[in-house]
């Protein structure tokens, strides 16, 4: 096989893996959009916040240490213990549930029946707030996140492809784990929404708020539930991205990439989020590979958005989205 083709295959495989990472963030968006019609801009920052909290708990950092030091002139840094990863993850999940409850209580409850665009802007405000809160709580420096996930080149794939084509493919172990986790997540979310009582309630709310209310489903509970699930998905995404590139502010920018993924897949479709992620991930890597060197590189910054834009002109509801019907 010619070398370019081999490279292209490798690049597209890596693109697929990157796409799964985008899809992980996009999943959280879809969940919230389906259940409450809120376009949750803060999803990326939720992932950042979850990852920051996880690292902080794991390393036994004292929350708000920086602030306390500044106010009282102390020099606190940490409790001096390190938690095992599993405990820290469980605690972070609890924090995310608490956060979901607080968001419902303090923000969403007061914005019921507002226009969607107002809710969207409220989540932008929420994103800023959480970003500031995360930094004040745990400090803004770049942190290393290690929860024991395998990293580095996958030897098996490298060897196998080397034997077949005479060229070893570089696939990161972490990406493979991410792919498995994403698959498990989608599977369990689907099972949850199909076969459990709360899952059914969730789908009912997604279908029609008022009808769901009239058969006795508590909207507020469902909202807390769905934001908790979104928080959990954000935690998973935060772990993956954090292990890959460190926990830092740019995490929330990467999460912005989930937006074109969503537009491509449609806001209301979980499979759409995955497929959109794969298309965007592969598309931007291949474009960078073929066209990047000609036009100066770093095309990954904008390719996803432009692709989604062009795509939307032809299909405004995305690949799997529900058809938009407008009436006067």
């Amino acid at each position: 096989m010619p070398d370019t083709l081999l490279y292209a295959i490798e690049v597209s495989l890596n693109g697929l893996m990157a796409g799964i990472m985008y899809a992980l963030v996009a999943l959280g968006f879809v969940l919230i959009f389906k259940a409450s019609g809120i376009f949750n801009y803060a999803q990326g920052v939720l992932a950042l916040f979850a990852a920051l909290t996880l690292v902080g708990l794991q390393n036994g950092q004292i929350p708000f240490a920086h602030l306390i030091n500044a106010v009282f002139g102390t020099s606190l840094h940490g409790f001096g213990w390190t938690l095992p990863a599993v405990v820290a993850i469980a605690l972070t999940a609890l924090v995310m549930v608490g956060l979901a409850w607080a968001i419902e209580r303090l923000v969403l409850k007061h914005l019921v029946n507002q226009e969607p665009i107002i809710l969207f802007m409220a989540t932008i405000g929420l994103a800023y707030f959480l970003e500031g809160l995360g930094d004040v709580m745990w400090g803004a420096d770049i942190k290393k996140l290690d929860v024991g996930l395998p990293q580095g080149i996958n030897e098996a794939i490298d060897n196998a492809t080397f034997n077949w084509f005479g060229y070893g493919f570089f696939i990161d172990n972490l990406d493979i784990v991410a792919a498995c986790v994403a698959a498990a997540l989608v599977l369990s979310l689907t099972l949850f929404s199909q076969y459990t009582k709360y899952g059914r309630a969730l789908r009912a709310v997604a279908d029609d708020h008022q009808a769901a209310l009239s058969v006795g489903i508590s909207l507020r509970f469902i909202w807390v539930l769905v934001w908790s699930i979104a928080g959990f998905v954000a935690l998973v995404a935060g772990i993956m991205w954090g292990s890959k590139s460190g926990v830092q502010f740019s995490l929330s920018l990467i999460a912005l990439k989930a937006l074109p993924v969503l537009m491509l897949g449609g806001f209301t479709s979980i499979p759409g989020a995955i497929v959109g992620g794969l298309i965007i991930g592969m598309g931007e890597k291949l474009f960078e590979f073929f066209a990047g060197p000609m036009i100066g590189g770093a095309t990954e910054n904008w390719f996803a958005y432009v692709l989604a834009l062009l795509f939307l002109v032809f299909r405004p509801q995305g690949l799997f989205g529900e058809r938009i019907i407008e009436r006067v």
Binding site: F120, Y128, V136, L312, V313
Partner: protein, 358 residues
């Protein structure tokens, strides 16, 4: 007792439809203009010009621009930073390409170029609506910033990739470059702002503005009563981008002096201007000014308070500021979705009746 419309009789249609129908409002407006033009330039110093006055004037232009698009025409845009960058780079190319051109012409031409780019990125708005459009404008934001980073022609092949404003004059007085006096910067921005605000105010209460608002309130219904969505949406994009381009040109040439595109015109700039019009009030001229003033003053105040007053480290103050801005946005949306402009309206309403309760 002072703020009354009683006794202020209108004897012609022109008088009846003026911008400030109440006499006290008119007086306040002219008094404000007089202070801004005749008093402030004589007392302004470098600190006040650079920290407060000039950024306020420039952001007010940007906020008016975005308010035309988002507040009046209902098309949410997250590409403001990108369009400001177009204005800045267009201005830079004009300044360096035609050294004899007066600065005002440069700025206006830069605005015109931005309007063209705005129309181009506004085209999808005919198919895409709501959130989808908001995300689609992100394409403009990221693509434009990338473009100005990667194509050396735009920054005249300078080694650092930065653009630096050379000295240009109006009536023999420098308005850009290192030797600009504070009052010249201030006055230059003020003149442009007043002219553009006057233009925007009159556009929004005329036929064009009513078409925009019809599209905002319900586009299909507007189409049925004969508003052409193509020309209406694109005119909103063009005029909004013109304003934003002018503000970008001023931001780079007068305020910053030297700019690096990713830093000066990144996605955060888009959000900052969006926040200004949310806090100020969507679809309100006063709101654009109030929001710009609020978000320009807030960091200055917080910095003075937290860093200067309490002696906290700068980075901590910056994070607290993020929290406060985010919290304020949410609070405003919950308590008063129409922003500071609505508070102002309510206050005026109360003032008209004062001291009586009803």
């Amino acid at each position: 007792m002072l703020y009354r419309e009683a006794g202020d009789f209108k004897t012609s249609y022109v008088k009846d439809s003026q911008t400030f129908p109440i006499k006290a409002d008119r007086m306040a407006y002219f008094a404000l203009l007089a202070v801004a033009f005749l008093v402030v330039p004589f007392i302004i110093n470098d600190y006040w010009a650079n920290a407060v006055a000039v950024p306020f004037l420039i952001y007010a232009i940007a906020a008016i621009g975005l308010n035309i698009l988002t507040g009046y025409c209902g098309q949410v845009s997250l590409g403001t930073g990108g369009f400001m960058a177009v204005g800045a780079y267009a201005c830079y190319k004009l300044m360096t390409g035609f050294p004899e051109m007066p600065m005002l012409l440069n700025v206006l031409l830069a605005g015109g170029i931005t309007a063209g780019v705005g129309v181009l990125f506004g085209l999808p708005s005919l198919r895409i609506k709501g959130f989808y459009l908001a995300v689609a404008t992100l394409a403009a934001q990221f693509f434009l910033v990338w473009l100005f980073n990667k194509v050396p022609w735009f920054y005249n092949y300078s080694a650092s990739g930065q653009i630096t404003a050379p000295e240009r004059t109006m009536f023999g007085i420098a308005v850009t470059g290192a030797n600009t006096p504070a009052w010249a910067k201030y006055l230059f921005c003020l003149v442009i702002l007043v002219a553009l605000a006057w233009l925007a105010r009159n556009l929004t209460r005329g036929m064009v503005g009513r078409k925009w608002m019809a599209i905002r309130d319900m586009d299909i219904a507007a189409e049925i009563i004969g508003v052409n969505p193509l020309t209406t949406k694109l005119s909103a994009f063009a005029i909004s981008s013109f304003f934003i381009g002018v503000s970008g040109a001023l931001f780079f040439a007068v305020y910053l002096g030297a700019a690096e595109v990713g830093e000066a015109f990144g996605i955060n700039k888009s959000f900052l201007v969006l926040f200004m019009i949310i806090i100020g009030g969507l679809g309100s001229m006063f709101g654009s000014f109030a929001g710009a003033a609020f978000l320009v003053l807030l960091p200055v105040l917080l910095k003075n308070l937290l860093v200067g007053g309490l002696g906290w480290p700068t980075d901590l103050a910056a994070h607290i500021e993020l929290m406060i801005v985010g919290g304020l946005i949410i609070t405003f949306l919950i308590l008063e979705p129409h922003g500071l402009a609505q508070l102002w309206r309510v206050a005026k309403e109360k003032l008209r009746l004062w001291p009586f309760p009803h």
